[in-house]
C-alpha cells in the first residue's frame, strides 16, 4: 500500500456512509444531551431498533417508506417506554437505564429464540433488505469514479447511500438549527440549565423531556438504517461501544452546537482511519499484528474521550458557557 492510496482511503472516510450514520446518531444524542441535558447512554439501542425495524419489515415485503416508518415507530415507542420510569429521576439513573435497555435490545436480538426474525447473533444479511432502497435510486447502475474515489452507483457501499445519507444529515442539521432558535428549543435549554426554574414558569418539564428523548431517538433510528445499508444488521457490532463512539463524536465536535456532531464524526473516522492505515504500513508485523492495530485504534478512542472530557468538555465548536455537563 503506497501513500497516495492511504490518502485516498483516509479522504474517503470524510463522506463515507458510516461517517454520515454516526454524525446523524450524534445529532440525535445532541437533542438529548446537548439541548436537554439527558444522559442517554443507549443511543446504539435506538440505532439497532431502527435497523431491525427497517430490515425486518422490508424482508416481510413492505415498501421502502413503510419500512422507514416502522423503524421510526420502533424508536418512538422505545423512547416512550424508557422515558416513563426514568425522566422523573436523577440523571445518572437515566444513564444506567438507557444503557441497560440498549443491552436488552441487543441480547433479545441475538437470542436464538428469535432466529427466524432477527437471524440471532449472525444477524440479517444485507442483501435481504437492500433491494427496495437500491431500486429507489434514480441513477443508472454501474461504477462511477469521481476524482480518485470510485464506488458503485447503487449497489451496497454506493454513491446512492452516500447521497441519501448526507442529505438526511443536512436535513437533520437544518432541523436542529431551527429547533435551537424556536421557543420549544429555548424551553429545552432552560431545562438543561435549571429544571426547577422552568417548572416554576408553568412548563411541563416531564413532557418536554419526553419529546426530546423521542425526537433524538427517532433521529438515532434513521442513523441506524443508514448504518446498516452498506453492510448487514449485526447486533453485536451495535452494542455499548457504538454508544460510546457516538458520545466521543458529540463531545469532540461540541455538544449543543449545530455542526459539532458532523465535524466530530468526520474527525473521528478520518483520524481513526489515518492512525490505522499508517500503522499498518509503518509498524512491522512482529511488533503489532493487524488485529492489534485495530484494538490500538479503539484504545486511542477511549483515551481521547477521557482527555476531552477533562480538558475540553465543550469540544471543538462548543461554547463553555453552554455546557450541558454537570448542570445538576
Amino acid at each position: 500500500m503506497d501513500w497516495s492510496r492511504i490518502l485516498v482511503n483516509v479522504a474517503g472516510e470524510i463522506f463515507a456512509p458510516t461517517t454520515a450514520a454516526y454524525a446523524l446518531a450524534a445529532i440525535g444524542l445532541n437533542v438529548h444531551f446537548g439541548l436537554t441535558g439527558l444522559l442517554n447512554m443507549g443511543q446504539a439501542g435506538f440505532m439497532l431498533l431502527g435497523a431491525y425495524g427497517f430490515a425486518i419489515s422490508t424482508i416481510a415485503g413492505w415498501p421502502l417508506w413503510a419500512a422507514v416508518l416502522v423503524a421510526i415507530a420502533c424508536a418512538a415507542v422505545f423512547g416512550l417506554l424508557l422515558g416513563i420510569p426514568t425522566l422523573k429521576l436523577r440523571g445518572d439513573y437515566l444513564a444506567i437505564v438507557t444503557i441497560a435497555a440498549a443491552e436488552i435490545v441487543r441480547l433479545v436480538g441475538r437470542s436464538t429464540a428469535l432466529t427466524e426474525l432477527t437471524g440471532a447473533s449472525s444477524g440479517l444479511r444485507g442483501n435481504s433488505y437492500k433491494d427496495t432502497f437500491q431500486d429507489a435510486s434514480p441513477f443508472p447502475d454501474g461504477t462511477v469514479a469521481l476524482g480518485p474515489f470510485e464506488y458503485a452507483m447503487n449497489a451496497s457501499n454506493s454513491w446512492w447511500v452516500r447521497i441519501v445519507g448526507w442529505a438526511v444529515v443536512a436535513l437533520a442539521c437544518l432541523l436542529i438549527w431551527l429547533l435551537i432558535r424556536s421557543p420549544w428549543g429555548r424551553v429545552l435549554k432552560g431545562i438543561r440549565e435549571d429544571e426547577d426554574a422552568v417548572r416554576s414558569l408553568g412548563k411541563n418539564v416531564y413532557s418536554y423531556k419526553m419529546q426530546a428523548l423521542v425526537l433524538g431517538g427517532v433521529i438515532g433510528a434513521v442513523a441506524g438504517i443508514i448504518y446498516v445499508l452498506p453492510r448487514a444488521v449485526q447486533p453485536d457490532s451495535m452494542g455499548r461501544p457504538m454508544t460510546f463512539f457516538v458520545w466521543t463524536i458529540l463531545l469532540l465536535g461540541g455538544a449543543a452546537t449545530v455542526f459539532g456532531p458532523v465535524l466530530g464524526s468526520i474527525i473521528f473516522w478520518v483520524s481513526l482511519m489515518l492512525i490505522k492505515s499508517v500503522m499498518r504500513v509503518g509498524v512491522p508485523e512482529s511488533i503489532m499484528r493487524t488485529e492489534q492495530i485495530e484494538q490500538f485504534g479503539w484504545i486511542v478512542v477511549g483515551v481521547t474521550l477521557m482527555l476531552l472530557v477533562i480538558f475540553r468538555p465543550q469540544g471543538i465548536l462548543g461554547d463553555k458557557k453552554e455546557l450541558a455537563i454537570d448542570v445538576r
Partner: protein, 471 residues
C-alpha cells in the same frame, strides 16, 4: 440514623448466619484437592449421552477456547474447546439438543464456514456419542455473511464483539424440562453467582456512596483480577491460591493508582461527577481494548481441568464453586465487620452519608475515599478471580458484560448502600440463573436488566434505600 444502624446490624446478623451455614455445608464435603485431579471427557453409559466435536481453524489448527452452549431436555450447559480443539458435553436425558457456538470466542480472524448452521440441532441417545460439527473457514462462493456487505473496512466489526455470554457455570444441568430438582439446581447456581457478583458490586456501591461517581470502569477491575489469576496460573505456573492472592494485591494496587492518578486530581479540579462518569466510560473502553490487545478476543481458562462435581441432595455443584462461595462469604462478612465495627468503617459510612459533615467532624475525606478505592478494586479483583473460575473461563470483556448486572444489583439495593448491594446481587444472581427455567438461556441477562428498569419504576430508592436519596 438509629434505624439505619439497627437495620445494618440485622443485615450483619443475616450475613453471619449465612457464613455459618456455608461453613457447615462445607464440612460435609469431599477434599477439594480432587477438583484438579478429575479427568476431562465424557463416557457414555446407560444414563449418560455425549455430544462432542472438534473445531479446527481454516488451516486445520485446533481452535482453542471456543465456547459452545448446549440446551435441551437435560438442561443447559456449556463446553470450551481444549488444546486439541476438542469439546464434549455430557447429558442425562435423550432428545433434541441445540448446540450454539459463541462466534465471539472464535480465534481472531476465524469465521464459521456456514453461519446458518449455528445454532445446530442434534439428536442425542443415552449410551452413545453424537457429533456436532462446526467447520471454520471462508464461506463458499456466493455464500452468506459479508461477502458483499464488507466492501468497505468495517468500522467496529472486530472491535465491539459480543459481550453477552462468557460461558455458563459448570454443572447447571440436570433432570427434565421442569422439576423441583432443576429449580433447586438453578437456585443454588443463582446463589453462588449472586454472592460472587456481590463482591464486585459492594465495591461499586461504596465508591458511589463516598464519591457520587457511577464507575463504568468497575467491570474492568473485575476482568483485571481474572486476567492476573490467569497469568499467574498459566504463565507463571503458580498455584491457584497464590495467583488469586496476587490478583487481589494487583487489584488493590490498581485501585490506589487510579484514585491517586485520576480521580483525586479530578476531584481537586472540581470536575463534576457526570463529567467523571464519562471519563470512566473512556477508561473502560481503553482498558477493555488494552486487555484485548494483549490477550486476544478468545476465552482464557484460569484452570484447564474439568471441575469435580459434588452432589448435595438434589443439587450438583462443583467443588470450586463451593470454595468460592465460602471465600466470598468470609470476605463479605469481613467487609460488614469493617463497616460496622471499626472506626475507619464508621468514618466511611459517615462520608457516604454526608461528606461535608464528615469533613467538618474531623474525618479526612480524601483518605477515606482512597481507602474505598483500594478496597473496592481489591474486592472486584477477588470477584473476578472467583467469577472466572465459576464461569470456566474469563475474557477481555467479562467484566464489561457483568457491569450492568452489578449496576442492576446496586440500584436494586439502593445506590450507595453497601448492604443493599449485597442483597441486590443475590436477587440478581437468582434471577439470572432461575430465569433459565422460563426463558431461553441466552436471554437471561436481559431478564436481570428488565428487573433493573422495573425497580426504578416501582421503588427507585431500592430495597434498602431511603426515598430522599433520589432527586
Amino acid at each position: 440514623m438509629r434505624r439505619a444502624a439497627t437495620r445494618d446490624r440485622s443485615t450483619a446478623g443475616a450475613l453471619a448466619a449465612l457464613g455459618v451455614l456455608l461453613l457447615s455445608l462445607l464440612l460435609l464435603l469431599a477434599d477439594p484437592g480432587t477438583a484438579r485431579a478429575a479427568s476431562a471427557g465424557c463416557v457414555a453409559d446407560a444414563a449418560t449421552g455425549c455430544i462432542n466435536g472438534t473445531i479446527r481453524t481454516a488451516d486445520q489448527q485446533p481452535a482453542v477456547g471456543v465456547v459452545l452452549d448446549v440446551d435441551g431436555p437435560g438442561g443447559a450447559s456449556s463446553a470450551t474447546t481444549d488444546a486439541d480443539g476438542r469439546w464434549t458435553v455430557a447429558v442425562t436425558a435423550a432428545g433434541e439438543y441445540t448446540v450454539t457456538l459463541d462466534v465471539a470466542t472464535l480465534p481472531a480472524g476465524e469465521t464459521l464456514r456456514d453461519p446458518a448452521g449455528n445454532p445446530r440441532t442434534v439428536t442425542v441417545a443415552l449410551g452413545s456419542s453424537t457429533g456436532a460439527l462446526f467447520p471454520l473457514g471462508d464461506p463458499p462462493a456466493g455464500g452468506s455473511g459479508g461477502s458483499d456487505d464488507a466492501t468497505e473496512p468495517e468500522p467496529g466489526s472486530t472491535a465491539p464483539a459480543a459481550d453477552g455470554e462468557v460461558g455458563a457455570p459448570a454443572g447447571s444441568s440436570d433432570s427434565g424440562s421442569f422439576s423441583w430438582g432443576r429449580l433447586a439446581q438453578q437456585a443454588s447456581s443463582g446463589l453462588v453467582f449472586g454472592v460472587l457478583l456481590a463482591l464486585a458490586s459492594v465495591g461499586l456501591s461504596l465508591i458511589y456512596g463516598t464519591t457520587g461517581l457511577s464507575n463504568f470502569a468497575h467491570g474492568e477491575q473485575v476482568t483485571l483480577g481474572a486476567i492476573v489469576a490467569y497469568l499467574g496460573v498459566q504463565s507463571l505456573g503458580l498455584p491457584l491460591l497464590v495467583a488469586g492472592v496476587l490478583a487481589v494485591l494487583v487489584g488493590a494496587a490498581s485501585g490506589w493508582l487510579q484514585d491517586a492518578g485520576i480521580w483525586h486530581p479530578l476531584r481537586r479540579r472540581r470536575v463534576g461527577t457526570t463529567q467523571q462518569m464519562i471519563v470512566t466510560i473512556g477508561l473502560s473502553m481503553a482498558l477493555q481494548y488494552t486487555y484485548q490487545f494483549f490477550f486476544g478476543g478468545g476465552a482464557l481458562r484460569i484452570v484447564t481441568t474439568t471441575p469435580t462435581m459434588v452432589t448435595l441432595g438434589p443439587v450438583r455443584i462443583s467443588a470450586t464453586s463451593l470454595w468460592s462461595l465460602l471465600i466470598a462469604a468470609v470476605v463479605l462478612a469481613g467487609v460488614a465487620y469493617f463497616l460496622l465495627g471499626t472506626r475507619v468503617g464508621r468514618a466511611t459510612r459517615a462520608v457516604s452519608d454526608n461528606p461535608a459533615l464528615a469533613a467538618a467532624s474531623g474525618i479526612t475525606v480524601d483518605r477515606i475515599v482512597r481507602l474505598v478505592w483500594v478496597l473496592g478494586a481489591a474486592l472486584a479483583a477477588l470477584g473476578g478471580v472467583l467469577m472466572g473460575l465459576y464461569l470456566n473461563a474469563t475474557s477481555w470483556n467479562m467484566g464489561g458484560a457483568l457491569l450492568l448486572l452489578m449496576f442492576a444489583a446496586v440500584t436494586l439495593g439502593g445506590l450507595g448502600q453497601a448492604f443493599g448491594a449485597l442483597a441486590g446481587s443475590i436477587v440478581i444472581g437468582l434471577v439470572v440463573e432461575m430465569s433459565n427455567l422460563v426463558i431461553p438461556s441466552d436471554m437471561r441477562y436481559a431478564g436481570a436488566l428488565l428487573i433493573l428498569i422495573l425497580v426504578l419504576l416501582l421503588r427507585p430508592q431500592g430495597i434498602l434505600g431511603r426515598a430522599e436519596r433520589i432527586g
